[in-house]
Amino acid sequence: MSRAVRFVPLLVLLLFVGFVTWRLLVPNDEKIRSRLTGQPVPAFTLAPATGGIAGLSSKDLASGRPRLLNVFASWCVPCIAEAPLLDELKRSGVHIDAIAVRDRPEDVAAFLANHGNPFERIGSDPESRVQLSLGSSGVPESFIVDGKGIIRYQHMGPIEPGDLPAIRREWEAAK
C-alpha cells in the first residue's frame, strides 16, 4: 500500500467528523420554507370560507398596497393563540386576508365568533391546493405580499408577541 493511500481512510473519518460536528453546532431547522419569497403569488380563486365574508383570489393580493395573508384552520390549536395578535396587527393598520384550509363553513364561523375576525376576506381551501401552491407546509403561516402581488416574507407557525417587530418591519418594507 503506497505511502499516501493508507491515510485516506483517516481523511474520510476527519471529513465525516467535520460535517457531523457542523450539524451538531447548527441544529437542523426542520421547517420547510416556501421558495416563493420574492416571486409573484401564484394565481388562484377561492370561494368564501363562510357566510357573510368575501372569498379570496390572487388578484385581491395585488391591490397596490401590501397585505398580510394568514393561512389558518378552525381545527388548528395554535391559531387560537395567534388570533389576538392578528387583531393587534389589524388595529395598527395591517390589512389581513386569510385562507381556511380543510374547513367547513360552520366551523370557520364558530372560530371567528369565538376568537375574533381580523380578516377582510377568507378563501376556502378544502383540499390544501392553494396552501401547496404557496409553498406553505402547515398551519398557521403568514405571508406578507406587497402591492404588486410579490411575496415578500413568510412567517411559519403562530405569530407570537416577539415576532411583531419583525412583521411590522417587513410590512413597512413591502410598502
Binding site: 491515510f7 481512510p9 483517516l10 457542523w22 451538531l24
Partner: protein, 640 residues
C-alpha cells in the same frame, strides 16, 4: 435497592475495564501471569455487566415506577413480554444492552481464545477494554438507566404502541449481538496490528467472531425488514431510511470481511484489506449508533434524539476509529502481502466481491450523509432516498449476483482450465429465465427482470460446489457456503418478484362490496369493534377467494390509550405463492371504508432468503468450530 445494585455493578464493571486496559498496557507483572489475570478481569467485567442488565429487566418486570426509565417507558398493564422487551425499547436501556454485549463478547474472547499467542491476545483484550471503558463512561455519565424518580408516579407513560410487538423482543438484541460482536474482530485486528501479527493465525482467530456477528446481523436486519413490512401498513420492506442504512453498512462490511478473512486464513492473501475491513465493520457499527441516537438525521425509525449524547458518542467514535486507522496507516507498511494470484481465480473473484461490496458500502454511506454535506456546503436542503439508492445500488448488486454465478466455481491461485462448462448450469438457467420473463411478463422493468434471471441462475450455481464431491466428507463450511448463496438467490427472486408483480387496490368500499386484486376476489363483509389487553379497535371482516376455498382476513384500526395512538394492524394471508395484505383505513362521510389491498407474489422469499443466508452462516460456523475442536484433540492426542 435493585436499581442501586445494578448501578453499582455497572461502576464495578467499568473499574474492571480500566484495570483490564492497564494490565494489558503492561502494568501487570511478568507476561505469563498477566494474561491469566487479564482473562479473569475480562470475565468479571462481562458478568457484572450482565448483572446490571438483569437488574434493569427485573425493574421493568416489576413495573418499579420509582425508576425514571420505567416510568417513562412502561406501564403496569402491559403484557409481560412488552415489560421485558420494553427494557431496551428506549435509549438508556438499549445502550445498556449494547454495552453488555460488548463486555460479554470480551469475556467470551478471554475465556475461549486459545489460538492467538498470549501477547497478541493481551493486546486484543486491551483494545476491547478500551472500547468498553468509553461506552461505560457514556452510560454512567450521560445515559444512566437506573436514575430514580421522586416522587414515584402511580403508573408509567407506557410503551409506544408501534413497539408493542414480538419484533421488539427479537430485533434489537439480535442486531446488537451483530453490531457489537464485530467489536471483537476490531479488537483482534488492533491487537494484530500492534503486535505485527497479521497472518493466517489472526484470520482464524477472527473468523468465528465475524461469522457469528454476521449471522446475527443478517437475522436482525431480516427481522427488522419483516417487522416494518407488516407494522407500517403500506407493504414496503426497505426504504433506505437512515436508520435502516445504519444497519446495512456494518452488514456490508461484515460480508466483505467474512469472505476476506477466509482468503487470509486459507491462502495468506488480502492481509491489508482484511485488517481494514475488520476495522471498518465495527466502525460502521459505532457510526450507526451515533447516527441513530444523535438526531442529526431525520428518520421514521429514530428512537432517540439527543445532540448532547450524540456529541459524546462522536467523541468516542473519533477516538476509537481515529486511533485504529492511524495504527493501520503506520503499521500496514510492515505487512508483507501473500503470493500474488491470477485475476481469473477464486482469489480474483473474492477481490472483485470485496471491491463491489465496499463500493456499495461507500454509496450507502455517501448517500445517507449527502443531505447533510450539501446543506453544510450550500445551505440548501435536499433529500436522497429510494430513487437514488435503487438506481445506483441495485445495478451493482446485480453485478455482484452475476459474479456469484462465476467465482465460486473457480480454482484457487490460477484457473487455466476451461471455465465455460463449469458455468453452464447457472448461465443456462439464467438465460432461460430471462427469455421466459420476456415471453410471460413483457411489461416489467429492466432491474426486476435481471433480478429474476440472475436469481434463477444462482439457484443451481450456488449448490454446484457440492456436486462431484463425496457429500459425507464435504466440510460443513462448504455446505454452509452453498446454503448461504442459495439464500441470496432466493432473496433476490423475492425482491424482483415483489417489484415486478405486486398488485395494489385502494378502494372506498361499503360492507357487501367485492374488490378484485390480482387473482383474488375480496368480499368486504362488515366492520365490528374489537378489544385486547390494552387497546380497542375497529375490525373489518374480509373474505378472499381465488378459485377454491375462502380465506378470512381481519385488518384492524387499533387505538391505544396509553400513550394515545392509532395504529394499523394489517391482515396478511400467506400462501405458497405470495401474500394477500389488507389494511383498514378511515370511514368517509358516505359510510364507505377505505381499504388497501395488495397481492404480493413470492414476497416471502425475501425473508426466507435472509433466514437461509443466516442458516448457511450458522452451518459454516459450526463446521469451523467442530473442525478446530477435532484438530486440537488430534494434536493433544499426538502429544499425549
Amino acid at each position: 435497592m435493585i436499581a442501586e445494585a445494578g448501578l453499582a455493578a455497572l461502576w464495578l464493571a467499568a473499574a474492571l475495564a480500566a484495570l483490564q486496559l492497564a494490565l494489558s498496557l503492561g502494568a501487570g507483572g511478568e507476561q505469563g501471569r498477566a494474561i491469566a489475570t487479564v482473562r479473569a478481569v475480562a470475565i468479571g467485567q462481562g458478568l457484572l455487566t450482565a448483572i446490571a442488565f438483569a437488574a434493569l429487566i427485573l425493574l421493568f418486570l416489576r413495573s418499579d415506577m420509582s425508576v425514571l426509565l420505567v416510568a417513562e417507558n412502561s406501564h403496569s398493564q402491559k403484557p409481560w413480554l412488552y415489560k421485558f422487551a420494553g427494557a431496551w425499547g428506549n435509549h438508556e436501556g438499549s445502550m445498556l444492552l449494547w454495552v453488555m454485549v460488548l463486555a460479554l463478547a470480551g469475556a467470551v474472547l478471554a475465556l475461549l481464545e486459545r489460538r492467538l499467542d498470549e501477547r497478541t491476545l493481551g493486546a486484543s483484550l486491551g483494545a476491547q477494554a478500551a472500547l468498553a471503558l468509553g461506552f461505560f463512561a457514556f452510560l454512567l455519565i450521560a445515559s444512566n438507566p437506573f436514575e430514580r424518580l421522586s416522587p414515584a408516579p402511580i403508573d408509567g407513560r407506557g410503551l409506544n404502541p408501534l413497539l408493542q410487538d414480538p419484533g421488539l423482543a427479537f430485533h434489537p438484541p439480535t442486531l446488537y449481538l451483530g453490531y457489537v460482536g464485530l467489536s471483537v474482530a476490531f479488537s483482534i485486528a488492533v491487537g494484530g496490528l500492534i503486535r505485527r501479527q497479521v497472518g493466517p493465525a489472526i484470520a482464524r482467530a477472527m473468523r468465528p467472531w465475524v461469522l457469528a456477528a454476521w449471522i446475527m446481523l443478517t437475522l436482525g436486519i431480516t427481522a427488522g425488514s419483516y417487522w416494518a413490512y407488516y407494522e407500517l401498513g403500506w407493504g414496503g420492506w426497505w426504504f433506505w431510511d437512515p436508520v435502516e442504512n445504519a444497519s446495512l453498512m456494518p452488514w456490508l462490511a461484515a460480508t466483505a470481511l467474512l469472505h476476506s478473512v477466509n482468503v487470509l486464513a486459507a491462502r495468506g492473501g488480502l492481509r491489508a484489506w482484511t485488517m481494514m475491513l475488520a476495522l471498518v465493520a465495527f466502525s460502521m457499527s459505532m457510526v450507526g449508533t451515533f447516527l441513530v441516537r444523535s438526531g442529526i438525521l431525520t428518520s421514521v425509525h429514530a428512537f432517540a434524539v439527543d445532540p448532547t449524547r450524540g456529541s459524546f458518542i462522536l467523541a468516542l467514535l473519533t477516538l476509537y476509529i481515529g486511533g485504529a486507522l492511524t495504527l493501520f496507516a503506520l503499521r500496514i507498511v510492515d505487512v508483507k502481502e501473500g503470493a500474488q494470484f491470477d485475476p481469473v481465480s477464486r482469489e480474483g473473484g473474492l477481490v472483485a466481491n470485496n471491491l463491489l461490496l465496499s463500493v456499495i458500502l461507500g454509496i450507502v454511506f455517501v448517500g445517507t450523509l449527502y443531505p447533510l454535506i450539501a446543506e453544510a456546503l450550500s445551505g440548501e436542503k435536499l433529500s436522497v432516498g429510494p430513487p437514488y439508492f435503487n438506481s445506483v445500488a441495485s445495478p451493482l448488486a446485480l453485478i455482484l449476483a452475476a459474479l456469484m454465478l462465476i467465482a465460486p466455481q473457480l480454482r484457487w491461485r490460477r484457473d487455466a482450465a476451461p471455465i465455460l462448462p463449469r458455468l453452464a448450469p447457472g448461465m443456462l438457467v439464467a438465460i432461460a429465465a430471462l427469455v421466459a420473463s420476456f415471453i410471460l411478463a413483457p411489461g416489467i422493468g429492466l432491474l426486476p427482470r435481471l433480478g429474476l434471471a440472475l436469481g434463477a441462475g444462482l439457484l443451481p450455481a450456488s449448490v454446484q460446489p457440492l456436486f462431484g464431491r463425496s457429500l459425507r466428507r464435504t466440510p460443513l463450511a462448504v455446505w454452509g457456503m452453498a446454503l448461504a448463496h442459495l439464500g441470496v438467490a432466493v432473496a433476490i427472486l423475492g425482491m424482483a418478484s415483489d417489484s415486478a408483480f405486486t398488485r395494489e387496490r385502494l378502494v372506498a368500499a361499503r360492507p357487501g362490496d367485492t374488490v378484485a386484486v390480482g387473482p383474488w376476489l375480496v368480499e368486504f363483509r362488515q366492520v365490528m369493534p374489537a378489544a385486547g389487553a390494552n387497546w380497542t379497535a375497529l375490525e373489518a371482516e374480509l373474505r378472499a377467494s381465488r378459485g377454491s376455498g375462502v380465506t378470512v382476513l381481519k385488518p384492524q384500526s387499533r387505538f391505544f390509550p396509553e400513550p394515545p395512538t392509532t395504529t394499523n394492524e394489517a391482515a396478511i394471508d400467506t400462501s405458497w405463492n405470495g401474500q394477500l395484505y389488507a389494511v383498514l383505513g378511515e370511514r368517509d362521510e358516505q359510510g364507505r371504508w377505505q381499504l388497501r389491498l395488495w397481492w404480493k407474489p413470492f414476497v416471502t422469499l425475501i425473508w426466507l432468503g435472509g433466514m437461509l443466508i443466516a442458516l448457511g452462516g450458522a452451518l459454516a460456523l459450526l463446521g469451523r468450530l467442530v473442525r478446530e475442536r477435532r484438530q486440537r484433540r488430534n494434536v493433544e492426542e499426538a502429544f499425549a
